[in-house]
């Protein structure tokens, strides 16, 4: 779950990290007030959770009140990757000498956290890794004890900063680590981290991603997890399903991300187009399956539904019951191709058969049938 930039900046500034002075604005009037309070040149930043804001034109600079009004009129009408811009962060424009990159995230191979630092700020980290690996260093962070003391020393040296700035670097590292410990952050990114003309380190943008699995221990963040989701994604999330909308007409529902992706691949290989990725996870109840199938039944783009479940911890009888109750609730006439195998599969197939739904045991046959029906 991602936080808005203004929320992220609020948290890190409480930790003593310097951020530009700024105000949140949802209307032209509020923008006007903010510009007057700030005085001088401002930056208007769309507050969105998805997409690449900079490239989409979601950030504007304004020298005068009039320019700010004009820019914000446009921004407040914008959509970025489908997401409406409802709020702007209006900030003082900082005179920048140098832009740096600093992030704390997971290092999978080392099974630890890591600080990533680069002298090329403002660039996306994927770009940095691919194109400028020499301008990037990685410092391992122990998942129990946190960043070692030498980390700030290394960073000051690597960034070629004056020694006086070490306490500021330390504050930034500490803030990132507190976000891991107190909020279960899986990514804290300061990008760009500016060395200002007056010689201060200022976080121009801050991105915080919280581990979704940890939300039960951060009750205050729980409602925020639904922001930026489409209606279908929100329904799926509420029922513990993982859902991604795609462009085809074959609705897919499986158990496990790997099997779901494999089923999508096979549908494509057989000449069909998946309408979605829908993973019911492990051990889903019939209620969860029902809600998942309903999502697909009520999606007008879906012509055929392909359910592919290989029961392990998931029981095929629960799946069958979910499918049947979704059909009876929606009263739909869309063809449903079911492939059921594994734990309790004969009970599951019996439940389906009773209601006239044929269940395959062969994956090949099921995929071929679904693709044929979707033509």
């Amino acid at each position: 779950m991602k936080l808005y930039e203004y929320e992220a900046k609020e948290i890190v500034s409480k930790h003593g990290v310097k951020v530009p002075r700024g105000f949140l604005a949802a209307s032209i009037n509020e923008v006007r007030d903010a510009v007057k309070k700030l005085g001088g040149e401002v930056v208007l930043k769309s507050q969105v959770l998805l997409g690449r804001r900079g490239i989409s034109g979601g950030i504007r600079f304004a020298k005068t009140l009039k320019e700010a009004e004009e820019a914000s009129l446009e921004l407040l009408k914008m959509r970025i990757s489908g997401e409406e811009v409802k709020q702007l962060l209006v900030e003082e424009r900082i005179c920048v000498d140098k832009e740096l990159y600093l992030a704390l995230t997971i290092d999978r191979p080392r099974r630890a956290y890591a600080i990533l630092a680069s002298t090329l700020g403002g660039v996306e980290v994927e770009e940095l890794v691919k194109r400028y690996p020499n301008a990037l260093i990685k410092i391992t962070v122990d998942p129990v004890t946190g960043p070692a003391l030498f980390t700030s020393r290394w960073l000051v040296e690597f960034y070629n900063l004056s020694k006086d700035l070490e306490p500021q670097v330390l504050k930034i590292i500490d803030s990132a680590w507190r976000l891991v410990v107190e909020y279960d952050a899986e990514l804290v990114e300061f990008n760009p981290l500016a060395l200002s003309c007056s010689g201060e380190l200022i976080a121009l943008d801050v991105k915080i991603v919280i581990d979704d699995n940890s939300l039960y221990r951060h009750r205050g963040l729980m409602d925020k997890a639904y922001r930026g989701l489409s209606d279908a994604e929100a329904i799926a999330k509420r029922h513990g399903l993982s859902y991604v909308e795609l462009s085809g007409n074959i609705g897919i529902l499986c158990n496990g991300a790997g099997l779901t992706m494999a089923t999508m691949d096979l549908v494509k290989i057989y000449g069909g187009e998946p309408a979605n990725f829908l993973d019911i996870g492990g051990g889903a109840s019939s209620d969860q399956v029902r809600e998942g199938v309903k999502l697909l039944l009520t999606n007008p783009r879906v012509k055929v539904i392909l359910v592919n479940v290989f029961g392990g911890i998931t029981r095929c009888d629960e799946v069958a019951e979910g499918v049947i109750s979704a059909i009876s609730e929606v009263g739909s006439v869309k063809p449903i191709v079911v492939r059921l195998i594994g734990t309790n599969d004969s009970i599951g197939r019996g439940i389906l058969m009773e209601k006239g739904v044929k269940a395959f045991s062969s994956l090949r046959e099921a995929v071929a049938t679904a693709v044929e029906l979707a033509r």
């Binding site: 999978r108 581990d211 494999a262 290989f310 195998i341 734990t343």
Partner: protein
């Protein structure tokens, strides 16, 4: 005669943590039916009862006092309590801990995996279907009908896809020596490289099947390893997600930055470059194995 299976063999004696829960109880029965020696279970507060004839204790400590032969634990406890359950198993001296639970916070996973490594113990998972050595025993939740005793070692990041590929391997009559799910989360205890090495050293395994998926760099790291060590046993791979659109997060595990790696093509290239055959449909693997073995 002793089998040479990895991780789960004739000496495996199992403790079930979270045995009185819905999944714990259900799969305890299935494991026993399969022939696994499940000797005790733990659920705090439910000590003194029994599930499918297996005695339940309040703590791992009291279970181990009564049954010192326990060397393996399988964890079904809810995600909120999984870190504590694993730490309890490690402290009590259990060698192999199989963590079935899905949805454990990443930070908890990092802590438990590092703790186990510092104690030289083995974590399988989290978010794994477990381990099965067909005909010998299973410590997991996989449907036994998909597996048969044989010569193929299977290691996978995906639960259900493992069943799919294994069933194909069973159907062509080759069967599996051991099947290991390393788990689908960004951080796992055992990884591809470690299990691959176990299979290389396992006399019962003649060929190795890798089941991966897009995201992360576990497959690329394995490819690096094989490239350095040379192909010692025929190795085949299936990677899910060939047609997944870039930039979309498929499932819960894909979000963490992957250093520019993680696409289907990057995995295929890396593996092929190391001498591993990569296939596009699960059933192509079993056919190819028939030609090799």
């Amino acid at each position: 005669m002793k089998s040479t299976a990895i991780l789960v063999n004739e000496d495996t004696r199992v403790l079930v943590q979270g045995i009185t829960g819905r999944q714990g109880a259900f799969h305890t029965k299935l494991m026993i039916d399969y022939g696994t020696k499940v000797v005790a279970g733990v659920t705090p507060g439910k000590g003194g009862s029994s599930i499918h004839g297996v005695p339940v204790y309040n703590s791992v400590l009291s279970a181990l006092r009564k049954h010192p032969e326990i060397n393996t634990s399988i964890v079904f406890v809810p995600a909120q309590y999984s870190l504590d359950a694993v730490l309890e198993a490690l402290e009590a001296g259990i060698e192999i801990v199989v963590v079935i639970t899905e949805g454990i916070p990443l930070r908890d996973e990092l802590i438990l995996v590092n703790k186990a490594r510092s104690m030289d113990r083995t974590i399988v998972g989290p978010n794994t279907p477990g381990v099965i050595s067909p005909g010998v025993g299973k410590v997991g939740i996989m449907p036994s009908q998909a597996f048969s005793r044989g010569v193929i070692g299977v290691v996978s990041r995906s639960g259900t896809l493992t069943y799919e590929v294994s069933m194909e391997i069973s159907e062509v009559g080759l069967g599996q020596s051991t099947v290991v799910g390393i788990g689908g989360d960004p951080v796992t205890g055992l990884d591809f490289v470690e299990v691959y090495e176990m299979f290389i050293n396992d006399l019962a395994t003649k060929a190795i099947v890798i089941i991966g998926e897009i995201g992360g760099d576990a497959e690329e790291r394995l490819a690096d390893h094989i490239k350095r060590s040379g192909v010692e046993k025929p190795t085949l791979a299936y990677i899910a997600g060939m047609t997944a659109p870039p930039g979309k997060r498929m499932g819960h595990a894909g979000a963490i930055i992957s250093m520019g790696l993680g696409t289907w093509d990057s995995k295929r290239k890396a593996l092929e470059n190391a001498g591993v055959m990569v296939f596009k449909a699960p059933w192509e693997i079993s056919r190819a194995l028939l030609n090799i073995i």
